[in-house]
């Protein structure tokens, strides 16, 4: 599945819902599907907010593939070069008065087994691959 999305939070959730419907069709385990949906939401939101500055006239592409025992989500955007895999992890401090950041990539790292970023032809290409649990694709 390939989706071309405008740079808005609503479009990010349109992609997430499409993934959830696809995942149900593929009979993915709920935990796998939740992790994939969360990773897509976090990465898509980052693109909208930081790469494309919430400009609804800008667009980005999401592709979702099922292969053997894994699902791969690819996100492509024309924003400035940015590799989210290099972002530092900011630990949550319960008493920290500063607004926390870096939670998104932490959640992605927890749920995704392989994260690859490349830069080609002025595009950021982020590939997220999750190995599925044994009872997926039953």
């Amino acid at each position: 599945m390939i989706l071309d999305l405008h740079a808005t939070p609503e479009e990010v959730m349109r992609a997430v819902e499409a993934l959830q419907e696809l995942g149900a069709t593929w009979q993915l385990a709920p935990t796998d599907l939740f992790g994939l949906a969360l990773a897509l939401e976090e990465c898509g939101s980052n693109i909208v907010k930081h790469a494309l500055h919430g400009d609804a006239r800008e667009s980005f592409r999401v592709s979702i593939e099922l292969a053997d025992n894994s699902v791969t989500i690819e996100l492509r955007d024309h924003g400035p070069a940015f590799d989210p895999t290099l972002a530092p992890v900011v630990p949550f401090q319960a008493d920290d008065d500063q607004a926390p950041g870096g939670w998104g990539i932490q959640l992605v790292r927890r749920h995704i087994d392989e994260i690859h970023h490349t830069r080609q032809g002025g595009e950021n290409i982020l590939r997220l691959t999750k190995h599925l649990h044994r009872n997926s694709l039953a």
């Binding site: 935990t31 939740f34 939101s45 949550f92 319960a94 607004a99 939670w103």
Partner: protein, 126 residues
């Protein structure tokens, strides 16, 4: 998936200083701003404690956690707290991943929350 936000007995909550809010659906990048907007009038009152009942919350992302973090901070400044009950396993997992649990008041159900309140009351009276 939309987010349904229901403040239980809002007028009574403001008078009592404690509000319970049921969240149903998805708290994500699209719906988190709406939660923040709907909480603003409540936070402008003297409410000190807010209990978020997450029994029907199916999805949460860092956008939602940020709203909770901001609410928690505001309530803490006035001597109160944000509490969370009935977390679904995948929602609890999200809290745990970012290590948000230490310092966050999370309860399995109302009975556990009521026991906590009773202990708080005893401590204040001691």
């Amino acid at each position: 998936m939309p987010l349904d936000i229901r403040i239980q007995n809002p007028d009574a909550a403001v008078r009592a200083g404690t509000a319970t809010i049921n969240l149903t659906g998805s708290l994500d990048t699209a719906t988190a701003p709406d939660l923040e907007r709907q909480l603003a009038p409540l936070l402008a009152t003297a409410v000190k404690d807010i209990v978020f009942d997450l029994a029907q919350l199916k999805f949460i992302s860092s956008a939602g956690l940020r709203v909770f973090s901001l609410v928690r901070k505001q309530l803490k400044e006035r001597g109160g707290q944000a509490s969370f009950i009935h977390l679904q396993p995948q929602i609890q997992d999200v809290f745990e991943i970012i290590q948000a649990l230490p310092g966050m008041a999370i309860f399995k159900d109302e009975a556990e929350f009521d026991r906590y309140l009773a202990l708080q009351q005893q401590a204040r009276q001691a």
